[in-house]
Each structure stands twice: as structure tokens, then as C-alpha cells.
Amino acid sequence: MKFTCLSEGKGYYFPPCHILNICGFRVLLDCPLDLSALAVFSPLPIAISSLLDEETSSQSSEFLDSKSLIQAEPWYKTVTSLQLWSIYSIDLVLISSPMGMLGLPFLTRSKDFRAKIYATEGASTLGKLMMEDLISMHIELRQFYGPEESGCPQWMTWEKLELLPKALKDIVLGSEGTELGGWMSIYSAADIKGCMEKVQSLKYLEEACYNGSLTIKACSSGLEIGACNWNILCPKGRIVYLSGSVFASTTASSFNYKALQGSDVLLYSDFTACNDVDGVKNDFPPATGSSYSSDSGCWETTTESSLDSDDYSEEMEKISFICSCALNSINDGGSVLIPIGRPEVMLQLLEHVSLSLESSNLKVPIYFVSSAAEELLNFSNIIPEWLSGQRQERFYSAKPLFNHIQLLNEKKLMVSPAIHSSKFLTSWQEPCIVFCPHWSLRLGPVVHLLQHWCADPNSLLIMEEGADINLAFLPFKPMLMKVLPCSFISGIKLNKAIPLLKILQPKHVLVPESLRPHIRCWNPKFSVRYFSENETVAMPKLKNYADMDIATDLYSNLRKDTKLIQKKDIARLKGELLIEHGKCRLVLGNKQVLSSQDRALLFLGRVELNSLLMALQKMGMKATAQHTQSTDGSENMSIVCISEPNEALIVVTSTRTMISVVDETTASLVSEAVRSTSGFI
């Protein structure tokens, strides 16, 4: 069993990507896109304006301004190392979040792609919406630049790349200059359709069986609606793939501990702790030296609720803080722009913003501009099974899961697929609150709205931390608009990583190299191996033997047929072989399974002359035996002559027994005698 980390990713929007070899199958874990790399491209309005004053485009390679951005139809950056693997060799793709499937159409459109893709229903629905939204936003740019030239675009030539400022070059080529091969031109709607047809969607905890030998189960991870950790059962053991997880989420179904407990191998692929500087400052190492020692009783005392407790309240505080900031802006006569691409957070914000508007009696329209808006809102209202306990409680008390249906009916929320639709333009009113894609600030309605508001100091942009803010705002400078950077929980913090491992109690753990100091100072009970990007780690050996189940009725049947050979009871197998869910089973089949092996009996041991004689006599035959040597004198042989009821001759040497007969009846009698006295199975 081997594990290769292809990419550690960059948090929520670009989840990690790995290859796992298990029981002879090659499993690809997630297939994301690095959409933050879109920052190198110029958004549409800037491209138009720079087209008008062409003379200023003297390219200086160090000074970064809005003209340094690449003015071309954007390409998309995939996981570069994935290109090194043959698509054909992948047997299975497991998707753990909607973001984890954005790069899938690049794989599935290849004719070499033959793998089976598993994703939860929630993740595949949201993933599909995101992909479709991406191409619908992209079309706007394509319409501007015209049809793409075939082959490599201009900006990708080395001469042009050399001219790029370092900040941009680092994004395009990667810090080591190796990542140009990961760039791809956008997929088509047909590619998405083809991709979705290959995705088998699962419910949480639904068992899917791959090739009879792997049983795969998605367990909710709490990160997003439909996001999951994977539980893989193979004949040799149980492997858990832990992706970015949130213990108590506000909207999505919460982290499922129970399903991940007691695995043989845990692949820890949540990189949040690796970048969790606060965690290091607050909790490690002196404060924890004693409390995490493995011999104290804290294995038992660590409870799930202690992990859950702050996640939820922290997130809710953030949401209400954002709402109050939005309200302040509105009160100042400004508008609020929220380009957050996380469906869970977006839905939560939408609801809370509308509630706070209502409670402060502000009548300000809320817009949701996205090609996916209507479908997302519809979808979110019919998925009680995929939501948190709090949301489900609303459903049980006969309230809709989210209040946006009501907002739509009351015309407080307006939904539009695009910014240029006439219905949208006629309903437009400022100040307002707008939810729209795309968080990269390079695609979609957000570009136009930013252009519109960036000079307004009363308006507010609510965006997620993480991106290079300077680069992100480059096309919109000077930015006079207020900016509220915020971060939402997207994984396991460092101070919770180890308590979690204590709860899950795996036998072996694979963790990112950067966690080594923290794990080492804690001295865990299980074996730990470390992995880093583009390095293959051999996984601990699990079991030598797999088990097979034999039905008791068949077993007792087999016992009757056993022969004692070398102090072992040996019997040839029979019955019907069932292989499902990683289990081999032999049952007494109702249908006769034909086998060509009926004839080729295997003989173990040798023919015992005396017992053979006795058996023959018992059957009423007249037999005499004599010992002699073969004609060349090399071998001892025994000869048994049978004279009644019919003639037969048995010649036994150490390697061979030759029975000469004259008729079938004698032959079968002799045969029976030989079988009964020697080790045939």
C-alpha cells in the first residue's frame, strides 16, 4: 500500500490531492483547481480600458500595476503533479468536497479515463453548479477575446512569461518554476455533462462496493454541504481518509466521529493545523507537555463535545459580526458586496443579513447574482438530510430549512442569473447587498460591481482572507471602498488535531511532515509516518492473511470429505463463491457450479499397499501382492494382481501407480479402493 501526496492545496478553495495505492487499486483523492491563480489575469473592464490607451503598455517586469496582469482569456491551473500519472492507471476517484471536483472534467474528457468516481449527492450537486457557474462566467471573457487560437496562447510563450513581474511569474510557474504544465484551457458544458455522468453519487454512510473488494463509505466532515471523509474497507483492513473537517458546523451536517473510529490507517489530510500559527502560539509546547502525555488517562477523558464546543459559537459570532458591519455600511448609505464562494457560508450569511436588516427595520434589497443562484436556493431547501441538527429542527417544526423562499416571495431577495438581465437592471436599487461570484475578483458579476463601487468609501467589500490582497485589488486601484477581510473555519485547528486522534484511535497514522514536531512531543500510542508533497510513502503493512467466511452448512459438509494428511485435515473446496463488500464467502450454492477441476484430482502422500489390499478384499475381490524391482532395477515396485471378479493389475512405484483393467466395473471398484485408502482430495 502506497500513498503519494500530489498537492497540499491551499485551504478550502483548493483542497489537497493525493494518490493512494491500495489492494492493487489506484485511488485518486480529489481533483481540485487552484482558482486563486486566476489572479494573474486581467478582469474584463480593465482589459477593455487598457485596450483604449495602448501606448502605456510599456512592460516593466518589476513594477506591478493593473497593466501587468495577463490580458488574455484565462486558463486554469490544475494539480501539476497529477499530469505525471497516467489517467488510464486510475481505478477510482473519491471526491470529498464540491471544490474537490472542479478539475474532474479535465480528466474525464480524456478517452483514457476509465475510473469510477464516487462523490456524495450533496457534493456532486454543488460541484456541478460551481463548474457550470465557472464556465458561464468564463463565456463573458471568451466573447470579448474571441475564439481561442489553437495551441499554446501567447501569454504562455517563454518570451512573454519572462516579462511578467515576479509575483505573477511565481503564480504561473510555481515557486520552483515547474508548474506551467498544470495550466489548462477551460472545459466545455459537454465536458461537465460527461463528467457528471461518470459520477456515482452516494448518501452519507451508504456503502458502495468497488470491484467486490473495496467497500467505500462517505462520512460527513462538516466542512460543507455534502463534504465528506472516506472510509475504505479492503480485505486487509480499514483506511480512513480525513479531509478538511469541521466538528460542529453551522449549516452542513456535522463531523461524524463514530464512522472514523478504530481504523487501521488514518490518512490525515487536513492542512489547517500546519498553517495554524495561533495554535502553536497558544498551546504548544509547554502548556501541553503534561496533558498530552500518552500514559495519562486523557485518552478516555477527551470527549467529542469538547471539540465541538467552540467551533459553532465562534462561527456564529463571526457571522453576526459581519452582519453588523454590513448594517453599518448600509446606514452610511453605502452598499455591501459579498463575493463568498462557499455555499454553506453564503446561505448562512444570506439568512442572517436578511434577519438583521429586518430587526433594524432597514428596507434594503438583497441581490443574489449568479447563474447558479436559483438552483442553489432551490436545492438548499430540499436537503434536510445534509444539514446540521439545528437546521433539521427547523424542518421538524414545519418551518422551511432556510428563509430565502419567504424572502423571495416578499421580494426582499432578488435573484438573477446575470448582471445584464433587464429584469435585474430595472429592479436595481442602491444601497443594496449583493451576493455574487467569483471570490477571485477576476470573473463574474463581482468584477463589474467592484468597478462600480471601488471608489465609494461608504461601500463595503466582505471577502475572505488568504488571497494576496494587493494582487487581488490591483485592477481596482485606488480602492477607497471599505474591506472586511474574514476567515471561516475550514479545517481542524492544531489544538484539536491531537485530541481528535485520541478519539479516533487509529493503529497507524500518516500526517503531513509539518506536523512532525507537534506529534513527536506528544508521543502517541500508534505508529506515525510523515508525508510531504510529491513523495511516495509506503504504508504500514496490515494483515498477511485475509479471511474467508464459510457457511456452517457447507463447512460441515466439507468436514465429511477431509482426508488426514500430515496430521492435517484437508478437503477440496466446493460451494458457491460470493465476493462482495470486500468479503469472500463460500456458501452451499443452490445451483451447481460447473468446474473443469472435477477430473484433475490431486493426490497427496502415497498408496499404502496393505490397506489397499484390505480394501480390495473388502469389496469382494481376490488380490495378491508381491514386491519386486523394476526391469532396470532402479526402483522398488509392488504389484497387486486381481483375479476376481475380473482381472486387473496394479503396479505401485514411489512416483506412480498404474492400474491396468479390462472393464469399467473393475476399474471403478479399484478406483474406489485407491481413493479410500490414500490422500486424494
Binding site: K203, Y204, L205, E206, N211, G212, E375, N378, I382, I383, P384, E385, Y396, A398, P400, Y545, A546, D547, D549, I550, A551, T552, D553, I565, K568, D569, I570, A571, R572, L573, K574, L577, I579, C584, R585, V593, L594, S595, S596, Q597, R599, A600, L601, L602, F603, L604, G605, E647, L649, V651, S654, T655, R656, T657, M658, S660, V661, V662, E664, A667
Partner: protein
């Protein structure tokens, strides 16, 4: 002591713990479904229903049979509720809040959402009747808090040994069949199900499973139903005719399920026929239910789901809510009112008002419990008088139409499900005794599966499957994971004739060697018994034996025709061709190929080979395998010597007998 240990001790005696199936309700009757099944020491209660026909203690299952002490929590591992109908969930609040059961309860999301509505509705009816309400509103709320909602196909671990899984059952929104497995023993409890899709729900769907027992409903154990569309048309025609002539239509229904299906049907029809007559739903109940239906669109049929992207199919265009004051308003209308069997409440109130008028129409559901007004109307011949309670009597002059489409599967559906699941045993519940008896006979004769239909409070014991674990060698595991099917040609035999076309002379059969290539090795030592499965190639080394070949030999004369001899002795030849063993063998080869079409004969030049059977011409004066010289062996015969391995005996003697009947001649 864990049950697993007990089992391994008993292995040698082959005594596995039987599955114990105690029927507390719906045994040879319809009402208060409740079956307690014990699998390897885990007790599961399937459904906890109420009998609508009784008003005393008989309306509840006799829970004292589960635990004499009344400590149900420690005795039962869990309760599973299949759907929200009262005859499946009605006793649950009583059992948890009054009897004190405090353990896990599982049901699907829709059931958890809709069950409180049903329970509350019924509680009000009891209150209105002035009976002692056996559970309160608070009881229902508290009870529902203990419920864990599950999604379809999720494998839920109730505890370390017990796993359960829900499958789509059709019937009503959220109805599920449940699979439960403890150790190696597994069962399915179907609850109520429907094998054909209806207006808003899909057909039941389940995986092929290895099952010891299926407990199935048998409401329509002997009924076969024709096309649904004809029955729907009939219903629409009756309604249309009534409203067209100015009459009022009363449709008493359960608030959930049937009401939505009929609303959908009527809404659609109204749209198509451009009708303006109002359709009403009584009280807020059905309206409120529609909110749930809107959210639960994923649990309806694929057809409804696919239309839901544009318009919510449960937002009815022509359906409005009804006010009590409108009962005697003039003009035609259609009204849905609860309860379904007119056992009281609003539907009875309206029934009293509308029944005396000839123009009006009452549509009765397919099944009405004995003792309800619905049941009396069903058997009534109009015009007549019907007792509604002890004192009152109504004059029934209106038309009565009985709905003939049901939420339950028909007999064919039950048989289809049993055939599909092929369990080792079947238990029938939720049906009428004589019909169940007939269905039992059909199941036993058609599938050879033992079938039982216990009465209430009877227990049936079913032997359970148990597996014995054996280690598997890598080599055998690999060979079993890679199917290596071969195709065998065989002549049609008596047993295959039955299944296959008799005309086919030679059939291709698939043969699978994977199992037969394996061997089981059992070794006892001081540590106990070790079982291992190895591939035959590994066997020799493991058993420490040497390869010892056992062969049979037979040398016998074959007649050679005179003509051949005559031709053969021709001048100029060094050797008479009759002694040319190559040509003789070739002749034999041609003959055998003609006569034995199912085997592959290889011609190696100086010998012919069929599997391990080898035959060659024997020119030796004295062959050790020619035991006695045949008296009629003359110069007209040539000896053939054949050798074969043990195991190919049947084949060998078949070939020999063919050869012995031959006469070799040119041709």
C-alpha cells in the same frame, strides 16, 4: 460473555443461535404492526403500531411479552419505525413515555417529520370522543426527541454488532423497508410497500441481499391488480360526473399520502379539463403537510423530482383550504377531509350533512377497518340508513365510490420481492388469515422457501446463518478475485433440458474453477483449531506430500473392416496401411470427432488426447495392459492402448465404449 464467543464454542456442534420472531401485532390481521425480532441476542422492535378498531387495551401490542419486569430499555437494542401510519407508529409515544422505553429509535427523515402530525391528529380525535387519551401532546414531543432520523441506504451502526439500513418502500412518503444484520445473520422487515410507482411516489427498491428471513406485509395476499391508469380514470370520471351535475364530492382520507396523491391527480385533471369547481382541503393539516412535502421532494418519485426544478408539484393550483362554514354553501365542490375511514372528526361531520343528498358522492379509501362508518358505508346498498354512533343514524342517499387503487403491493408484487430477495425463510404479517394461508402455499411451492404466518403473540424460530472464518492464502485470494470462467460444451442432459430449449443439441455452459482450485486445511494443535484455505498449487508444499500419479490403463482390440484390409494389401507399399498407426489414428480421430461433439480431441500424430485420456495404437506383442487376449480378437483387429488419470474415468469409459462399437474402414 459476548455472543461471538458463544458461537465459536458451539461451532463444532453446528448450533447457531436461531432468530426469534415474536409477533406482537399484525399477526393474521391488519392493525397495530409490531414484531420483535431477536438476532444473535439483539432484540429489535419493528414498528410500534396502534389498532384503530379497538378502544381498550387491545389497541396496543402486549408489551409485557418483551419484558416481564417492564425494563424495556435494557432488553431492546432499538426500535425501527417503517412509516408514519398510525397502525405502525401509533403506540410509540405510549411505549416511550408511559412504558418508559428510553433506547434508540430509528425512522426516516420524512417519517420523523410527519409522524407527529399524524399522532397529534389522532390524539385530538380521541380527546373529542371523550376517551381517556393515553398519551398527551407533550408525550408526542418528548417521544419524537428520542428519534434518530436516517436516510435511505445509510448503513447505521446501532451498536458494535447491530447494523441497520433503510430502503425505499413506496407506499407513503418516507416509507422504508429495513435491513438488520447481527453477526452473520440478516433479515429484512418490509413494513408496507408498493411495487408499482404511483402519482407521487416511486416503487419499492432494495438491493440483492443474503437473508435468513424476510418479514413481509400481505395486505393484498391474493389480489392481482390491473393497470393503474384505468382505475385512476374511473375515479376521475366519477368525480367529474358528480360535480358536473352540481353535486359535492367528499373524499375522506388520511391527511398524508393519499391526500397528496389525489390532489395531484385532480389538480392535473382540472388543469387539462379547464374545470373551475373548487377543490378544498379541510383544516390546516393537509396544507401544513404540503410544506413538508415541498422539502421532501427527494423522497418522491423520479418523475415528480424532475418536474420540481420548474414548479413545486405540491403547490396545487386549484386546491384551497376549507372553512367549516362552507359545509352548506351552495354549488359543487370537492373536499378532502380527515380521518380517512370516517371514524369521527371532520369527515364524519361533513358526511352527516352531505350523505342524504342524491347528487353528492362519497369516495371511500380502499381499506376501511371494521367498526368504522366507512366500513358500514362500503357494504351498504344505497339508499339506506347507517348508524354513525350509539344514538345517531344517517340517511344515506348519495353515491358511494370505492377507490380501487391502493398504496400496498399486490400478490404479484409480494411474490416478485420474495423471488428477488430469495431469503431462507419468509414470515407474513399485516394480512387476513385465509389469504395469508394461500400466499404461504404459493411461496412454498414456487420458491421452496419455508413460510409462516404466526398469529399475534406467537413466536417463530428461524435457524440463522453463521459463517466460519478461515484464513485465505494470498494466492487463493488472488485467483478468487480474478474470475477465470471457461466455457464447457456439453450435450444436453436431462436436468438442463427443463430450463433450456430442448432442441439445442450442445449447450455452452460456464464453468468456474475458482472454488475447486482451493483446498481447506484444518489443523488442531494445543492453541485450538486453525483453518486455512490455500490454492491447490500451494497444497503440495503445505501437506508435505510428493506428487504421486495414479493412472489407469486399458489395452483392447478394435475391429478393422475387411475392405480396408483388401485395399490395404496393395503392392508397392513397404508396410500395409492397416498397420500404419498414423492413418488408423486419423480414422479414429474422424470417427470420434463425429460421435463425441462435446469434447475437444487433440491429434498429436501418434496418439489422440482427450483431457488426460490418451489413446494410441499398440503394436506390441505383449502389452502389460492387455490383461487377457480376447478370444475373438483375430487378425481383423488392431490393438489400441489407452491411459488416463484418475478422475477422468467416466470420460475414458465413454470414449472406449464408442471405440469398441466402431469398425474402422476407409471412407
Amino acid at each position: 460473555m459476548t455472543p461471538a464467543k458463544v458461537n465459536s464454542l458451539n461451532l463444532e456442534e453446528n448450533e447457531s443461535m436461531p432468530i426469534e420472531c415474536l409477533v406482537l401485532g399484525a399477526g393474521q390481521e391488519v392493525g397495530k404492526s409490531c414484531v420483535v425480532v431477536t438476532i444473535n441476542d439483539k432484540k429489535i422492535m419493528f414498528d410500534c403500531g396502534m389498532h384503530m378498531g379497538y378502544r381498550d387495551h387491545r389497541r396496543y401490542p402486549d408489551f409485557s411479552r418483551i419484558s416481564k419486569s417492564g425494563d424495556f430499555t435494557s432488553v431492546l437494542s432499538c426500535i425501527i419505525i417503517t412509516h408514519f401510519h398510525l397502525d405502525h407508529i401509533g403506540a410509540l409515544p405510549y411505549f416511550t413515555e408511559v412504558c418508559g422505553y428510553n433506547g434508540p429509535i430509528y425512522m426516516t427523515y420524512p417519517t420523523k417529520a410527519l409522524a407527529p402530525l399524524m399522532l397529534e391528529d389522532y390524539r385530538k380525535v380521541i380527546d373529542r370522543r371523550g376517551e381517556e387519551g393515553l398519551f398527551s401532546s407533550e408525550h408526542i414531543t418528548e417521544c419524537m426527541k428520542k428519534v434518530t432520523a436516517v436516510d435511505l441506504k445509510q448503513t447505521i451502526l446501532v451498536d458494535r454488532d447491530l447494523q441497520i439500513r433503510a430502503y425505499y418502500a413506496g407506499h407513503v412518503l418516507g416509507a422504508a423497508m429495513f435491513y438488520a444484520k447481527v453477526g452473520d445473520a440478516a433479515i429484512v422487515y418490509t413494513g408496507d410497500y408498493n411495487m408499482t410507482p404511483d402519482r407521487h411516489l416511486g416503487a419499492a427498491q432494495i438491493d440483492r441481499l443474503q437473508l435468513d428471513l424476510v418479514i413481509t406485509e400481505s395486505t393484498y395476499a391474493t389480489t392481482l391488480r390491473d393497470s393503474k391508469y384505468a382505475r385512476e380514470r374511473e375515479f376521475l370520471k366519477a368525480v367529474h360526473k358528480c360535480v358536473a351535475s352540481g353535486g359535492k364530492v367528499l373524499i375522506p382520507t388520511f391527511a398524508l399520502g393519499r391526500a397528496q396523491e389525489l390532489c395531484m391527480l385532480l389538480d392535473d385533471y382540472w388543469e387539462r379539463m379547464n374545470l373551475k369547481v373548487p377543490i378544498y382541503c379541510s383544516a390546516g393539516l393537509t396544507i401544513q403537510a404540503n410544506i413538508y412535502y415541498n422539502t421532501l421532494i427527494n423522497w418522491t418519485s423520479q418523475k415528480v423530482k424532475s418536474t420540481s426544478a420548474t414548479r413545486n408539484p405540491f403547490d396545487f393550483k386549484y386546491v384551497h383550504s376549507f372553512d367549516r362554514s362552507m359545509i352548506n354553501a351552495p354549488g359543487p365542490c370537492v373536499l378532502f377531509a380527515t380521518p380517512g375511514m370516517i371514524s369521527g372528526g371532520f369527515s364524519l361531520e361533513v358526511c352527516k350533512q352531505w350523505a342524504p343528498c342524491e347528487q353528492n358522492l362519497i369516495i371511500l379509501p380502499g381499506y376501511c377497518q371494521v367498526g368504522t362508518v366507512g366500513h358500514r358505508l362500503m357494504s351498504a346498498k344505497v339508499p339506506t340508513k347507517v348508524n354513525v354512533d350509539e344514538s345517531a343514524e344517517i340517511d344515506v342517499r348519495c353515491q358511494i365510490h370505492q377507490l380501487s387503487f391502493s398504496l400496498h403491493t399486490d400478490a404479484k408484487g409480494i411474490m416478485d420481492l420474495v423471488r428477488f430477495l430469495s431469503p431462507k425463510h419468509v414470515i407474513l404479517v399485516h394480512g387476513e388469515k385465509p389469504k395469508m394461508e394461500k400466499l404461504k402455499k404459493n411461496i412454498e411451492s414456487d420458491f421452496e422457501i419455508p413460510c409462516y404466518y404466526p398469529a399475534n403473540n406467537e413466536t417463530v424460530l428461524i435457524p440463522s446463518t453463521q459463517y466460519i472464518k478461515a484464513h485465505v492464502s494470498k494466492s487463493f485470494l488472488q485467483s478468487s478475485l480474478s474470475p477465470n470462467f471457461k466455457f464447457l460444451k456439453t450435450t444436453s442432459r436431462a436436468d438442463t433440458d427443463i430450463i433450456l430449449n430442448e432442441k439445442t443439441e450442445s449447450l455452452v455452459q460456464v464453468c468456474d474453477d475458482r472454488v475447486a482450485e482451493g483446498a481447506l486445511i484444518i489443523q488442531n494443535d494445543e492453541k485450538g483449531q486453525h483453518r486455512k484455505i490455500v490454492h491447490q498449487n500451494e497444497l503440495m508444499a503445505i501437506a508435505g506430500g510428493e506428487n504421486h500419479e495414479v493412472q489407469f490403463a486399458h489395452c483392447f482390440p478394435v475391429r478393422v473392416c475387411n475392405e480396408l484390409k483388401d485395399v490395404a494389401v496393395s503392392p508397392g507399399e513397404n508396410m500395409p496401411p492397416v498397420l500404419d498407426k498414423h492413418s488408423l489414428l486419423h480414422l479414429l480421430y474422424t470417427k470420434l470427432s463425429n460421435d463425441l461433439q462435446d469434447v475437444t480431441i487433440q491429434n498429436a500424430g501418434d496418439s489422440l488426447q482427450i483431457e488426460s485420456f490418451t489413446i494410441s495404437a499398440c503394436l506390441k506383442e505383449k502389452c502389460p495392459h492387455r490383461l487377457h487376449v480376447n478370444p475373438d480378437s483375430t487378425s481383423e483387429a488392431v490393438n489400441f492402448c489407452c491411459v488416463w488419470s484418475m478422475g477422468d474415468e467416466k470420460l475414458a469409459w465413454r470414449v472406449i465404449s464408442v471405440i469398441k462399437n466402431l469398425e474402422l474402414k476407409t471412407g
